[in-house]
């Protein structure tokens, strides 16, 4: 249904095809999170990989930074309807992380866990093949606390709540288990191109 009198702001020209339906471009970097921004000091930071309840590998900040670091420039899409093009990130690909731990594919699903108790589910297939990383740097600088620093998940092809801030672990699960926002009305998968914003969209 066309809205009477609405023409919309200028279309984004050649960039238009990079913007999923219902999204609009922003230049700044808005913030969305469920509670206060936690301050996590790198000396206290650690990252744990689990298969079910069982920890299989843990890294300190120094160990994590010694893993192969990869750069990626990606478009990101937030469920609150903003998109930002060409954001540049640096961090550890999930492929490299799993290889380092000697883990392949014990189950097809994972949960990402964060320092603030937040969790989000992502299928393994969406984390591997160079599609996702644990990002430590944004636009060439250490990731700020507001944007998930010291480390956040980056899964740019899904709505951005899937890119869990303040991440401290990944856990393989038997089933696709809904995480924090998924239990609170947001879509289980979150593909921006199919506008999977809320449960069962």
């Amino acid at each position: 249904m066309a809205t009477r009198g609405f023409t919309g702001r200028g279309r984004s020209g050649s960039e238009a095809e990079r913007i999923p339906p219902g999204q609009h471009l922003v230049e700044d970097f808005p913030v969305l999170s469920a509670g206060p921004t936690p301050r996590i000091y790198p000396e206290k930071w650690s990252f744990t990989l689990k298969i079910g309840p069982k920890p299989v590998k843990m890294w300190s900040w120094a160990e994590f930074n010694a893993l192969p670091q990869t750069k990626a420039t990606r478009d990101i899409h937030c469920v609150t309807a903003w998109s930002k093009l060409n954001t540049s990130w640096e961090g550890v690909l999930i492929d490299d992380l799993l290889a380092e731990a000697g883990v392949e594919a014990p189950t097809p699903y994972l949960l990402a866990h964060s320092y603030d108790g937040y969790s989000t589910n992502v299928p393994l297939a969406d984390l591997t093949g160079g599609r996702a990383m644990i990002a430590l740097r944004y636009e060439g600088k250490p990731l700020e606390p507001d944007h998930g620093g010291p480390a956040r998940l980056l899964v740019p092809h899904l709505y951005f709540w899937k890119s869990a801030k303040w991440i401290n672990g990944l856990q393989f699960t038997e089933r696709d288990e809904p995480g924090f926002w998924e239990l609170r009305g947001y879509h289980i998968y979150g593909d921006p191109w199919r506008e999977q914003r809320y449960t069962n969209d």
């Binding site: 249904m1 066309a2 809205t3 009477r4 009198g5 609405f6 023409t7 919309g8 702001r9 279309r11 339906p21 219902g22 999204q23 609009h24 922003v26 700044d28 808005p30 913030v31 969305l32 999170s33 469920a34 509670g35 206060p36 921004t37 936690p38 609150t80 309807a81 903003w82 603030d116 108790g117 299928p123 507001d146 696709d176 809904p178 924090f180 926002w181 998924e182 239990l183 609170r184 009305g185 289980i188 998968y189 593909d191 914003r197 809320y198 449960t199 069962n200 969209d201």
Partner: protein, 251 residues
């Protein structure tokens, strides 16, 4: 890909909701009352999405908190602040009229909500139009006759910019356990005991002192910088992170 087997409810549908009333609240905020053809029950703190579509198919989606209390009339009140260089809020302020149909879906959001069963006391902290979801909680609390001690710390620019000012002042004087603390960042309050500065830890401490016992839930809503300041001040005042819920309106 996959579907949650546990949660096979239908998706929340879009509907064409008619604007039945528009009320100017402050120089920058107007309330829009919608009558969705398929009325829905929301929880205090939830939001709706609006979708505006241009003749060429281009569409813009924005979220707006519901200001009305659950279970009122089937009407939904939204209170929208005009951002001068924005796309949707100036459209609503300047172009939208009573009788227009706007696509809307809701209720949405399952985190920034308060129900009677959650209990209290409540500390609500709002900046500008960030009052909106808190107002739904305040109105809901009133409508069910709850006596949960509730303190609203509201930051606005000036006395004239205080959204729902008369309603809040009246509730404040009703003696039912609700109290209002105002802070004006660019003005002076007409009441004594209010503040004229940005929110800080000292102010949160004074807010806590006005509650009979420590709050069980803290809700903070407003622009991102406002929420950061208020959340950090709350932590500095000794409140625990897990009881603090935030809603950020973007930049």
């Amino acid at each position: 890909m996959t579907d949650a087997s546990a949660t096979r409810k239908a998706s929340v549908p879009w509907q064409n909701a008619r604007i039945v009333r528009i009320v100017r609240q402050t120089s920058r905020i107007k309330s829009f009352f919608f009558a969705p053809p398929h009325p829905f029950q929301h929880l205090a703190g939830q939001h709706v999405d609006l979708r505006l579509t241009a003749p060429d198919g281009y569409s813009a989606v924005r979220s707006y908190s519901i200001a009305s209390a659950p279970g009122s009339s089937g009407e939904i009140e939204l209170a929208v602040e005009r951002l001068d260089d924005g796309e949707v809020s100036p459209f609503l302020h300047e172009v939208a009229e009573v009788g227009d149909e706007i696509e809307l879906r809701g209720p949405l959001g399952g985190h920034f909500i308060w129900t009677a069963a959650d209990g209290g006391p409540l500390l609500l902290i709002g900046g500008g139009s960030g009052l909106v979801p808190l107002m739904a909680m305040i109105r809901y609390r009133r409508s069910i006759g709850s006596d949960v001690p509730t303190l609203l710390l509201l930051s606005s620019r000036t006395w004239e910019d205080v959204l729902y000012r008369d309603e809040l002042l009246e509730l404040d004087s009703s003696g039912d356990g609700f109290s209002l603390m105002l802070t004006l960042t660019r003005g002076v309050s007409a009441r004594s005991g209010d503040y004229s500065r940005r929110i800080d830890a000292a102010m949160i401490e004074e807010a806590l002192a006005r509650l009979p016992v420590a709050p069980r839930h803290v809700f903070i809503c407003g622009s991102n910088p406002f929420v950061n300041t208020a959340a950090d001040a709350s932590l500095a005042a000794g409140l625990a992170a897990p009881i603090i819920r935030t809603e950020r309106y973007g930049t």
